[in-house]
């Protein structure tokens, strides 16, 4: 197999990757250069030796796909957060730095909760972040109170193991 250098890989595949990302980003296409940069940075930092990349585009797409998922998820979390803030009075609005910090925390918790079924996840977030009483959560989700307790326990165990 012919060995690649990083420069060759970049020259050969970066324009393609940019187009690939733009197609998937739609309106947010201006983020494509950043994500492309992050993808190649992963390649540089990563353990897979570049000589071993039989299918460079497949590999780049795999890495980029993961970054895209994170990117979209971050957007969702941010949009929901900002929408909530907009309902609050002007005086209570946090600074951009504070908002950025909250977003990082949300991304972290999101990562910890990854994989939990929808009701377990919802129960955990409602109990631990929004402080709803178990009875209210049970009614909201249409489950028993003892199920809510089990869901919260499960969420806690997963977070602790994943931290």
């Amino acid at each position: 197999m012919r060995p690649w250098t990083f420069d060759e890989l970049y020259r050969e595949h970066q324009p393609w990757l940019l187009g690939w990302l733009r197609a998937r980003l739609g309106h947010g296409g201006d983020r494509a250069p950043d994500l492309s940069h992050d993808t190649f940075e992963r390649l540089l930092r990563g353990a897979t030796p570049m000589q071993a990349l039989g299918q460079p585009r497949a590999y780049l797409a795999t890495v980029a796909r993961g970054l895209l998922i994170d990117h979209f998820r971050r957007q969702d979390l941010e949009a929901a957060y900002l929408a909530e803030l907009a309902l609050r009075p002007e005086a209570e609005q946090p600074s951009p730095e504070a908002r950025a910090q909250v977003l990082e925390q949300l991304m972290l918790i999101d990562r910890l909760l990854d994989g939990l079924p929808p009701k377990v996840r919802a129960a955990f977030v409602l109990a631990q972040i929004e402080d709803w009483p178990h009875e209210r959560i049970a009614e909201h989700l249409g489950v028993s109170v003892s199920s809510v307790k089990k869901y919260v326990h499960r969420g806690l165990v997963q977070c602790l193991l994943a931290l």
């Binding site: 353990a47 897979t48 030796p49 071993a52 795999t62 796909r65 993961g66 998922i69 994170d70 979209f72 998820r73 969702d76 979390l77 941010e78 949009a79 929901a80 957060y81 929408a83 909530e84 803030l85 609050r88 909250v102 977003l103 925390q105 949300l106 972290l108 918790i109 999101d110 909760l113 990854d114 994989g115 939990l116 929808p118 996840r121 919802a122 977030v125 409602l126 109990a127 631990q128 972040i129 929004e130 402080d131 178990h134 003892s146 307790k149 089990k150 919260v152 326990h153 499960r154 806690l156 165990v157 997963q158 977070c159 602790l160 193991l161 994943a162 931290l163």
Partner: protein
């Protein structure tokens, strides 16, 4: 933790007591509890609306780096003599049986039940080949640990410090290297340049040179401390692990097999662990064929 506000649920309380008792000796576990508590109390409720809804597609499912069924074909992992090098000695552990091996000048190896390990002395030091199962390596003081190499079909590992585990499962052709202390150098089997894997990290290596670096957790070396950590696993899988580590036959009725369980479960005495599981879920424990069975 907020959970303490609801002490009236005995099953929940018991599960937490078991978890905390198992981890009380480790400062790291308490740090996690505090970290999680801080994180959850600091996040404003305004942020939770987005969190409540799960992401459309799961990261883990899409990364798919480790799916593979082709057996590794690299020839070096078939032991052979080269101009007088000694053949490997093989050690195999049965379910419930652990073995400890002392590697002079390097450290000690703890071999988990259900493992098969080859060992030989070379001019440079020691070489270990893990065909299946798990081992934990602990270096001795002032040891020249760079003289030790652990190989599996997918990977090689060289310690640069003190404590790590290697697990190899032939069924999924996958090797997992988790570092508990200091760091190791590890890479895919046919890649001569290794990357550093630090304490708290874990490297998963699959066929075709695929690999993934992620955060390690207490589950990796839980077996050394006499525990099996389950994270949303089917009951049948947890019982299989407990059976392997304890050597006691364990079974469950078919309708329970897929039930998801989480928590930290002591390997011994396994009867107590089964009783805990039964209490948590409202099941029965029955003695059967020298072991135990869980049923509704």
């Amino acid at each position: 933790m907020r959970l303490q506000q609801h002490p009236d649920d005995p099953a929940l309380r018991e599960a937490w007591r078991a978890w905390l008792a198992a981890h009380a000796g480790h400062g790291a576990a308490w740090q996690r509890v505090e970290r999680l508590q801080t994180l959850l109390t600091q996040v404003p409720s305004a942020g939770s609306a987005g969190l409540r809804r799960a992401p459309v597609r799961r990261r883990r499912a899409l990364l798919g780096l480790l799916v593979g069924s082709a057996a590794a074909s690299s020839a070096w992992w078939l032991w052979h003599t080269e101009g007088g090098e000694p053949l490997a000695e093989w050690v195999e552990t049965a379910p419930g049986e652990r073995r400890e091996l002392a590697l002079a000048g390097a450290g000690r190896v703890l071999l988990a039940p259900g493992s098969r390990l080859g060992w030989r002395r070379t001019a440079q030091g020691h070489e270990l080949e893990l065909l299946r199962g798990q081992l934990q390596f602990d270096s001795e003081q002032r040891a020249k640990t760079h003289t030790l190499t652990v190989r599996t079909a997918e990977a090689w590992v060289r310690p640069l410090g003190t404590r790590f585990t290697v697990e190899r499962s032939p069924g999924s052709a996958r090797t997992t290297v988790a570092v508990q202390e200091a760091r190791v150098l590890a890479a895919a089997a046919d890649n001569p340049s290794g990357q550093a894997v630090h304490a708290g990290q874990r490297l998963l290596l699959g066929p075709g040179g695929r690999q993934q670096l992620e955060q390690a957790g207490p589950a990796d070396d839980a077996w050394v401390r006499g525990l099996v950590l389950a994270l949303d696993q089917p009951l049948a899988q947890l019982l299989a692990q407990l059976q392997n580590h304890s050597g006691v036959p364990l079974a469950c009725d078919p309708e329970l097999a897929g039930q998801r369980v989480s928590g930290s479960y002591p390997i011994a005495p396994v009867a107590d662990t089964l009783r805990l599981l039964a209490e948590l879920h409202g099941w029965q424990v029955q003695a059967e064929a020298g072991g135990w069975r869980l049923r509704r």
